[in-house]
Amino acid sequence: MLERNGDVVCELRHVDKVYEGAVPTPALLDINLQVRRGEFLVVLGASGSGKTTLLNIIGLLDTPTSGQVWLAGRNAADLSEEERAALRSRYMGFVFQFHYLLPEFTVMENALLPCKIVGARMVEQNRNRVKELLVRVGLGDRLNYRPNQLSGGQQQRVAIVRALANNPELVLADEPTGNLDSKNGFAVFEMMRFMNRETGTAFVVVTHDERLAQEADRVVVLEDGRIVKDEIQRPAVTHEL
């Protein structure tokens, strides 16, 4: 179904992004980036440096002005709207700064949403796994709670499990700790690191917090839309599949 292309889960080739408007704003300039399987990559950069733009382009939420995005061995430019949606639900997971759980669904149901989008079979395949993940992030006794009955940190942990629900190759997280105090933020970050090691899913995490960056396998620093530093700190965990 989805081709898993060797060790590279996602690749950007000469990606430029210019926001058109009264004054065209360049947000990304000649970005070349390969995210490898199982890698935990942190993106650092000042406000306005293009981090969110980068993540949106990888996540197929936005299209580059020029350059190519390759996911699952396919050029994103060749994909139909349906195929892009399918990639987002099956190949990738998303964690946003504001947790964005659906208030009318329980913790368990929220975590299973990506599976529900794909279909009933996907739900059956992943139900136990998702439950297991919720237990592991410490929400085993909160499965039937509503999001508004949880703390911010707990909600973000549900969002992380949701991002992992379909056992994706890649999780994209835009300042997942930005809305939490430093203690909770660190706990959530640790949780992602842990999930990355457990599941072998690659993570691209945007943060302002340099302290968290030290935990990453690889750190990419953006400045005015350019990659000014791309440093591998330690080899990524690899899972034999």
Partner: protein, 416 residues
């Protein structure tokens, strides 16, 4: 294909925002109640009006064309000679149908719209009793056959109509009052032809039609044949139809198939018909506007719902929900709201109509009652109201659903 994911999100959302859900359903319910209530009331009023003209007469009557006296010079005979007596003969001939038995058997095969056929011998006569004298219409019938065309049996106040024997008569209650008739009393009837018949009153009816109740006497067909001297013939054949508004067309069609003249109730009631048509049109107009108002109600609440849920929609799209799935969420919500609102409205509308329908007042001294509000509540009307509501719900959610599908996930996520 209904997407399961969209369906479950829609259901969950409707249940979670109960207030909004009930409000929308209320809008639909009120309009469906109104549609059913108005539809049934107007239908009932029209039925009452129509039955006030067709209740006591056959829908179509077949009879011999009137024979106009013709001048001597208009008559061309084989040998060119005309005797004076012939003109007189034509004038006096009673309009009659000799071969009625074969037509009675064949008429039902002419159209599935013909529900009953009744051969009738009808004529003018005087009723005499104790020095009193009154002009009446005497109608000779086979009671069981005639009752299929004009219902008398269920309108009986006393006695019987079915199984009428020779020498027996059934009269209206006003005529009975006038002559102080009881069951078993005798009346003497003298026809315009000068024949005399004596009959025993076997039944008294109250049809609610003054002319019928005060001046009609039913006797067996055979007795009428001798009273009016028509031998074995009848004077008319009456038809009862299933779809009474096709009476005119059917009458015209039958006229081509039988060697007689036909006349339908519609030709005698042109004005009533055009009045009914105008009434139908104005009631349809009310229903259309009610439906449109309900549609806008659903649409505006749904648009509000889309706006307040922009974040959710954005997030669902970001994590892989397709435009089609988002579109379906709102289409399903609109349809469900309309459907359940319509069901609630249908129950209300039916209950209201039945409650008002059950109010009855006495309309005749014989104790006959009639409903104050003549509702004509048909399953057809209820189903139509529900179907219309569901279609309107679907249509009204189309724009909100389209708006939702167009939500840009990035803007929502950036919005924070």
């Amino acid at each position: 294909m209904i997407d399961r994911f969209s369906f479950s999100v829609a259901i969950r959302h409707l249940l979670y925002y109960k207030g909004q859900t009930l409000l929308t359903m209320g809008v639909v319910a009120v309009s469906v109640t109104l549609i059913i209530f108005l539809g049934a009331l107007i239908g009932g009023l029209q039925k009452r009006l129509i039955s006030s003209v067709t209740g006591a007469i056959p829908h179509v009557v077949i009879r011999q064309p009137e024979r106009k006296p013709i001048a001597v010079w208009e008559v061309a005979t084989a040998n060119g000679v005309l005797y004076l007596g012939e003109r007189v003969k034509l004038q006096q001939q009673k309009r009659k149908i000799e071969d009625w038995q074969s037509w009675e058997a064949r008429l039902p095969t002419f159209s599935d719209n013909i529900r009953a056929v009744s051969p009738v011998v009808e004529g003018q006569a005087f009723v005499n009793r104790n020095e009193k004298r009154k002009a009446v219409t005497v109608v000779g019938v086979f009671p069981e056959k005639h009752n299929g065309v004009v219902d008398i049996q269920s309108k009986l106040v006393q006695g019987r109509f079915f199984g009428l024997n020779g020498g027996e008569a059934v009269v209206g209650f006003k005529l009975a009052d006038e002559f102080a008739l009881k069951l078993g009393d005798k009346i003497r009837v003298v026809s315009a032809e000068g024949n005399v018949g004596n009959y025993t009153v076997a039944g008294i009816f109250d049809t609610g039609f003054s002319a019928v109740d005060s001046a009609t006497v039913f006797i067996p067909l055979r007795d009428a044949q001798s009273l009016f001297g028509v031998g074995n013939a009848v004077t008319t054949i009456g038809l009862k139809l299933q779809r009474i508004f096709e009476a005119k067309d059917l009458a015209q069609q039958i006229a081509l198939q039988v060697p007689y003249e036909t006349r339908s109730w519609m030709e005698d009631n042109q004005q009533l018909l055009s009045g009914l048509r105008a009434q139908s049109q104005s009631s349809n107009l009310i229903l259309v506007f009610t439906t449109i108002a309900a549609g806008f109600g659903i649409a505006s609440i749904m648009i509000t719902s889309v706006v307040t849920r922009l974040r959710e929609i954005g997030i669902l799209k970001a994590i892989g929900a397709t435009n089609r799935q988002i579109l379906q969420i709102f289409a399903i919500e609109g349809t469900l709201l309309a459907f359940f609102g319509a069901i609630a409205g249908a129950i209300q509308g039916v209950a209201l109509s039945l409650a008002l329908y059950s109010i009855r007042v006495q309309v005749s001294e014989t104790g006959r009652t009639a409903e104050v509000f003549p509702f004509d509540l048909t399953p057809d009307l209820v189903i139509r109201a529900i179907v219309i509501a569901v279609l309107v719900g679907l249509a009204a959610s189309w724009y909100p659903a389209w708006r939702a599908a167009r939500v840009n996930a990035i803007e929502v996520i950036r919005g924070g």
